[in-house]
Structure formats: C-alpha cells, structure tokens
C-alpha cells in the first residue's frame, strides 16, 4: 500500500503533460484487462479481432511508455538526440504504423 500511495503522490507531482500520459496508460491497461476478461468469458472466436485489439492496447501502451521516458526531464542524459518534439513526432509515427497494421489485421 505504501508503494501505491507513493506512486500516486509521484503522479500528482508530475508536470501536466506527464499526467495526461499517465492517465492514458492506466486507461490502456484497464482496456487490455477488460478485453482479456472478455476473451476468457465469451471466447476468442474472431481470434484476429481479439489479437488485433489486444495488441493495439499493448503496442500503444509501449509507445506511450517510450514517449513518457523520452520527455521525462530526468532522462535528459540518456536521450541527447531525442528532443521532446522529436519524441512526440516519433510517437505519432509509431502509432500510425501500429494502427495501420492493426487495421489491416482485424479484417
């Protein structure tokens, strides 16, 4: 529990942009969990569709996590070549590729 409260505190202290990303990430986790439970309860009949939806959430989550670490001022040392603008541009590019594939995948 202590850990959880510390994390919530950390979230509260983060800059607004990061807050937005955090909320989006939590949403994606929830959405993934819901899809998974749905799959367990109802069955995975159009497997393409389930896989497409689930991977879309996972992929988007990963891309967001990447964006979050890149724009985090604490990580400036590691990403010298990646400015926040560049990071956002990359994020958009990655998401476009991801959703193009997913769109193609779910038929």
């Amino acid at each position: 529990m202590d850990v959880f409260t510390s994390l919530v505190n950390a979230h509260k202290n983060a800059p607004p942009r990061m807050k937005l990303i955090d909320i989006f990430m939590v949403f994606l986790v929830l959405s993934g969990v819901v899809q998974f439970i749905f799959c367990l309860l109802v069955g995975n009949f159009p497997f393409n569709a389930f896989l497409g939806g689930f991977s879309a959430t996972v992929g988007q989550f990963v891309l967001l996590a990447a964006l979050r670490t890149q724009v985090n001022p604490e990580n400036k040392e590691e990403f010298r070549k990646v400015s926040p603008e560049r990071a956002f541009c990359d994020f958009v590019f990655g998401s476009l590729v991801l959703h193009f594939i997913v769109y193609h995948f779910i038929n």
Binding site: V3, G59, F79, L98
Partner: protein, 728 residues
C-alpha cells in the same frame, strides 16, 4: 575542396566500386553458361513469380496449385514466403513503366547480384555504427566478395536467401541505431524491415531470437536503461504484429516455442522498467520488499503458464528442424527427410576456410576488440558471433548467417590495425601525442551519440581510441605490416574470385565437363529431357520422380508432379519412395492409384554423375521404411554389408523398380561399367521391365523417362502379360 568533402567523395566512389565488384563477381554463371535459373528451389520461385506477374497479387495469395503434390495439391499462396516474388515483380513492373522492357526471367536471374550490392552498402553502415568509416568500407568489401555469401547469391540463384541477407543486415543496422539513440522511429524502421525479412525467408527466426538474447544479455550485465526499453518494446510490439500478416507465419509468433523467448524478454522488460520506475519514486526498504515479492510471483506465474500452455498444446513445442540444431543426430534418427538434404549436414571444417578465406582468423580478433570496447552494440556483435558460429558448425547452409558477422568483425580488426600502423605523422615527443589524443576524443564525442559521450573524458576514448594513440615509430615495421596485410587483402580478392568462379557459379541444371583437349563440354541432359516431356506428353500427364526434381519438372516441363522440394507431406514422399523401392508387382497398384503416367529417374552411371537416384536410393528406402517398416527394410538392399549394384546385388535390390529403371539396357553401352559405383554389370544382369516401357533416354543417359503401362486388355496381370509378350 577541403579534406572532409574529398573524403566523402572518396568514400562514395569506393562504395560504388565495391557494389560494382560485388555485382560483377556474381555474373560468372551468366558468362560461363547462360542467363538461366539455377538448381531446384529457384525454379519454384521463378514459377511463382511468373504466376504472380500474370495473375496479379490477390490470386497469387490465394493460389491453390493443383499441378504439384498430385492428387493432394498445395495451398501455395499460404505456404510460401512471398517477399522475394513480390519484390522482383515490383522491380519488373517499375522497369517496364520507365521504358525498360526486361524479361521477367532476366529480372529473376539478376536479382541476387543486384541485392548483394545493397548488402555491401548495409554492411558499410553497420561497420560505421560499430567503429568508423574505415571499418565500414572494409566490411562492405568483405561482405561483397566473401564466398560464403556469394555461394547463395550468384546470378540465377533466385532464392529467398538472395534478398534475406540484405534484409538481415538492414534489420540489424536499424536495431543498433534504435538502441543507440533510443528512438522510436528507428525502432519502427527496424520492425518494418523485420516484417520484410519475415515475408522473405524462414530464417527470420534467427532475428527473432538474437535481438531478445542481446537485450537479455544486456540485462544480465546490469545495463538496463530506458533506451533498451524504448528500442526493444517498440520493435517487438510492431514487428510481431506485422509478422503475423504473412499468411504462412500466421499466429506462430504467439503460438510456437521458437518465438517465446522474444515474448518472454518483452514481458521481462516491462517488469524491469516498472521496477526501475518505482525505485525512483519510493523508499529503499519498501522497494526491496515490493520488488522481490512482485517479480518472483510474476516470473513464476509466467513460467508456469508457458509450461502449462505447451503441455496443453496451445503453444507448439519446437519443430524437428529446430531440434536438429541442438542435437545433430536427432534428424538422422527421427526425420530422415531432413537429414537427406545435403545442406542440412554439419559443416566440414575446410569449408570455413573455403568460404571465408583469411577472414576466419580475423574473426576472433574482431570479436576480441569488441569485448574490449564493449558498448551495447558490441555486445550484440559478440552474441551474434557466438550464435552464428554454433549454427554454422551445425548446418552447412547456415554458413550464410555467419558470413555477415565474420565480414564485419574482419573489417573491425583490419581497420584497427590500420589505425595503429597507418599513421605517418605521429609526433615523436610525448606531449603532442596527448594533444592528438585529446583531439581524437573530442572528435569522437562530437560525431558519436550520447552513449560514448559519458561524463568522464577518459571513458570517451574507449579501446578504439587507444589505437590511434599507439606509438609505432619505426617506419620499417609499419611498412612490413601494411604490405603484408595488403597482400592478404589481395589474396582474399583473388581467392573469392576463384571460388566464386569455379565452385559456386554452376547452374547444376547444365553440367560442365572438359573434353580431352581441354575445351569445355556442356552436358544439357536435364533440359533435353524436360523439353521432351513438355513436347511429347499430354498437358495433364502426371510425372513421378524423386522429390529433388519436382520443382524443375514443374518449372521446365510444366507437368504435374507427385512430390517436390517443398517436402510438406512426408507420407506422400514415402509413398513415392516405396513405389521406387518395391518390386514391380507391389509398385504397379501404387502407380495406378496415383494416376502416374511417366516416371523420371536420374542415372549417372554412364557419365559418372554421383548425385543420381541410385545413390539417393537408400534415402528413399529409409523414408519409406519410416512409414512401412514391415514392407521395406534398409538391410535387404545391402549385400553382405556392401551397397552393390552388379551381379552381387541382393534380390530385393535387383527387383526394385528403381534399380530396374536405372540399369535397363545398361549393359549394352560402355560394357555395363557403372562409373559412379565402380562396378560392372554383365549382360546376364540386365533387368527386364514388365510394368513400364522405356519412353526416353537422354543423350548421356543422365535422365531416363518411362511410361507406365495401361491395364491389360485381356484382364491379365500386367507383369504376366509382359512376360507372355516377351515369350512370343
């Protein structure tokens, strides 16, 4: 023009020349023979490409081929890697759009050399990322010319590997780039080129495993940082999803064990990244308890799930081909069909020297240098080197995946050598030396990315920079070393050229031999026979042959075959093996059941061609024995432990259809001397044929075609009828 521009120009010129040399050295096969598709698999790829260009992409993907695997057919569109065909079709269309109407055959023939030029360029980029431009240029030259790669990419060798090695290098380059910069775009590019690779070659599994392994090793070394997370997770999420678009791959990436390591590392990275994030936010004591309990539970659950799912059969266990990589005896015992392919045999050690020349002893040097420098990308090289060497030792064809790393490592070591010995303005006194040193490191820091630009200037230099500051003052030693290595380089070029020309440029459809006066004599029996089939048999005739010739019959003779090089159905192949291995009475019903009209056998006894069907006969027997152990038995084909074909041969051997068809009428020519086996058939050994008629025998007896007799008009058994006819 200043020095920088001159250098750039020089580099471009060298790269163009290297690409030119790579392309031209692969054209020997066209110069010595003709513009023809080589070997076996390329004939299928060529046939598929023609189908694609005439029927369009959609019907290509839905192609059901009823002219192979009669009567089963093959879902060709869903069981091939379409990357090669699609690419060459795109090239063909583009060329005709810009007014260069090139025959599709020529596009296919010249495809591999053209891509080898690109591969050389990718090797240059890869080398640049690892060390500097010198290393890159050397790697490009080595990879452009190394026989290990040329063997699979001469003109006419229109196979998946032709494009796959280019894509392998591209993917690795993007991976290194993504890892160094921690950039999502480079990782996405890596995923896209991975997708292209998946669409082109089954060997993509190598990438699927080597990148996770690299990340895992980095984790073990305690080198986790956010860039690893960004690069790997983006690559995995996009690449895996993309790879599932290829019909042949389908859901394999989440279902088969070969792909599980990638998924495992993906999950592990999420945990590590999360733990890393939490550690920054909470107190040390809380953290330790949290992490230990959390990580242990999750890993245990994941592992149990993996085992459980494998046990339940949701995740397919490793395939036989994969097992044979770990246990070289596995295929011999369990899957004779895999072991029967010569390129799946373990590599003989001289072929390392033959294929890699002097690079084979520069390779360990390069890896040693990498271990000394050991930035993240050098860890990749080391991991690749270990895996690649192992696989190349296990299977001859995997020499191909080792070659790129050997070339890059060779480039690294030679360029380091040049760094030390090719400095002509080294200052004598100590103080200026330090100055050069500092200049070099400053330059390095400016040119390279954050990874090497660590806070302490001492670390910036690394192991590579120490070469530049090495102080060799004696000109003699410099000259001696440089001249020696120049000699080695020249030897490498001439060796590669020689090997390419002499052993890798043969189409194997047309055989070359020398006349007594030294002039070249071409043996064109294969095409002669296939052309005969094409012109003299009905279009829907079914031709039975051993699977090796299936693709060629389909491509050149355009006739329906029973089995071909795809080897997807072992039972069907065993059926053909059984028909060949049994006596005529047993074989005839099998032939009738499969509507066989013609049987094609390859016989090298007259010519001394050792890759003929009698030499492959034991594999047919073994494969048939795997399915019908009580009807076919390998031991019965050996006369007192020896493989005999003359009068000493066993009765089973003499009665087998394959033996009869091979040696029918043979004692009439050449005194019955079999030049391959070194044995002699006397006229009394001449076999008689009852169920088939000889239809065609090529000029040098290399290919013999037999027509299967129809049922007898009077309702007698066919062998009995034939015996009656012979008697009267």
């Amino acid at each position: 023009m200043d020095v920088q521009n001159a250098q750039k120009l020089l580099r471009i010129a060298i790269l163009v020349l290297v690409a030119g040399a790579a392309v031209l050295s692969r054209l020997y096969s066209v110069v010595n023979f003709e513009s023809i598709i080589h070997e076996f698999d390329p004939w299928f790829n060529f046939r598929a490409t023609r189908y694609l260009s005439s029927h369009g992409f959609d019907s290509f993907l839905n192609w059901f081929d009823n002219r192979t695997w009669y009567p089963l057919g093959r879902v060709t569109g869903g069981t091939l890697y379409p990357g090669l065909m699609v690419t060459s079709n795109v090239v063909h269309t583009m060329l005709s759009k810009i007014g260069i109407p090139l025959d599709i055959r020529n596009v296919c023939v010249l495809f591999a050399p053209a891509f080898s030029g690109l591969t050389a360029y990718m090797a240059y980029l890869f080398g640049c990322e690892l060390k500097d431009e010198t290393a890159g240029l050397l790697a490009a030259i080595f990879l452009g010319m190394a026989p290990g790669y040329t063997s699979r990419s001469v003109a006419g060798s229109y196979d998946n590997e032709a494009i796959a090695i280019t894509l392998l290098m591209t993917t690795f380059y993007f991976w290194i780039k993504a890892l160094k910069l921690g950039s999502v775009s480079w990782a996405a590019a890596c995923a896209l080129s991975y997708f292209y690779m998946v669409s082109a070659w089954g060997g993509y599994v190598f990438i699927t495993n080597i990148i996770p392994l690299h990340v895992f090793v980095l984790l073990l070394m305690g080198r986790f940082h956010s860039r690893v997370y960004v690069a790997y997770c983006t690559w995995y999420a996009l690449g895996t999803l993309a790879s599932m678009q290829i019909p042949f791959v389908g859901f394999l990436p989440i279902r088969s064990s070969e792909h599980m390591s990638a998924l495992g590392v993906f999950g592990l990275l999420q945990l590590v990244a999360f733990a890393d994030y939490v550690r920054a936010k909470v107190l040390e004591r809380q953290f330790r308890l949290f992490v230990v309990s959390f990580v242990v539970i999750v890993v245990a659950i994941a592992f149990a799930a993996l085992l459980g799912l494998t046990w339940l059969g949701v995740i397919a266990p490793w395939t036989g081909r994969f097992y044979s990589l770990w246990d070289t005896e596995y295929a011999r015992i369990h899957i004779p069909i895999i072991a029967s392919v010569s390129e799946h045999q373990p590599t003989a050690w001289p072929s390392f020297f033959n294929d890699l020349s002097f690079l084979i002893w520069l390779f360990p040097v390069g890896i040693y240098i990498c271990i000394q420098e050991l930035r993240d990308e050098h860890v990749f090289l080391v991991v690749y080197a270990v895996l690649g060497s192992y696989f190349a030792g296990v299977m001859v064809r995997l020499m191909l995946t080792l070659t790129p790393i050997v070339c890059v490592a060779g480039g690294l070591s030679i360029s380091s050598l040049l760094d030390v010995y090719n400095q002509w303005n080294v200052p004598v006194s100590k103080a200026p030396a330090v100055e050069t040193n500092a200049k070099v490191s400053k330059k390095a820091a400016k040119a390279k990315e954050p990874a090497d630009a660590a806070p302490e200037p001492k670390e910036v230099q690394g192991f590579f920079a120490s070469f530049k500051s090495a102080n060799i003052t004696s000109s003699i030693s410099k000259v001696v070393v440089l001249v020696t290595f120049f000699g080695y380089l020249a030897m490498f070029v001439s060796h590669s050229n020689f090997v390419t020309q002499s052993s890798y440029s043969s189409p194997s459809v047309v055989l070359a031999s020398n006349m007594p006066d030294g002039s070249q004599f071409l043996i064109d029996d294969f095409r002669e026979a296939y052309y005969w089939l094409r012109m003299n048999t009905p279009e829907d005739a079914k031709v039975m042959s051993w699977w090796d010739y299936g693709y060629q019959i389909g491509g050149m003779a355009d006739r329906t075959t029973l089995v071909d090089n795809n080897t997807w159905n072992n039972t069907h192949i065993a059926t053909v093996g059984k028909a060949m291995a049994c006596d005529e009475e047993t074989a005839y019903p099998i032939l009738r059941q499969h509507d066989v009209d013609y049987i094609l056998v390859v016989f090298g006894g007259l010519l001394g061609f050792s890759g003929d069907d009698i030499n492959k006969f034991l594999w047919m027997v073994r494969i048939a024995e795997g399915i019908w152990p009580e009807e076919v038995s390998e031991g019965r084909y050996f006369a007192r432990g020896q493989y005999r074909v003359d009068s000493e041969a066993t009765e089973t051997m003499k009665n087998s259809l394959m033996y009869k068809m091979s040696y029918y009428r043979f004692p009439e020519v050449n005194n019955g001397a079999d030049r391959v086996r070194g044995q002699r058939l006397s006229p009394s050994d001449a076999p008689t044929l009852n169920i088939v008629d000889e239809a065609f025998t090529s000029q040098n007896w290399l290919v013999r075609i037999y027509k299967v007799k129809d049922l007898d008009n009077l309702g007698r058994q066919v062998p009995a009828a034939a015996a009656f006819d012979r008697a009267h």
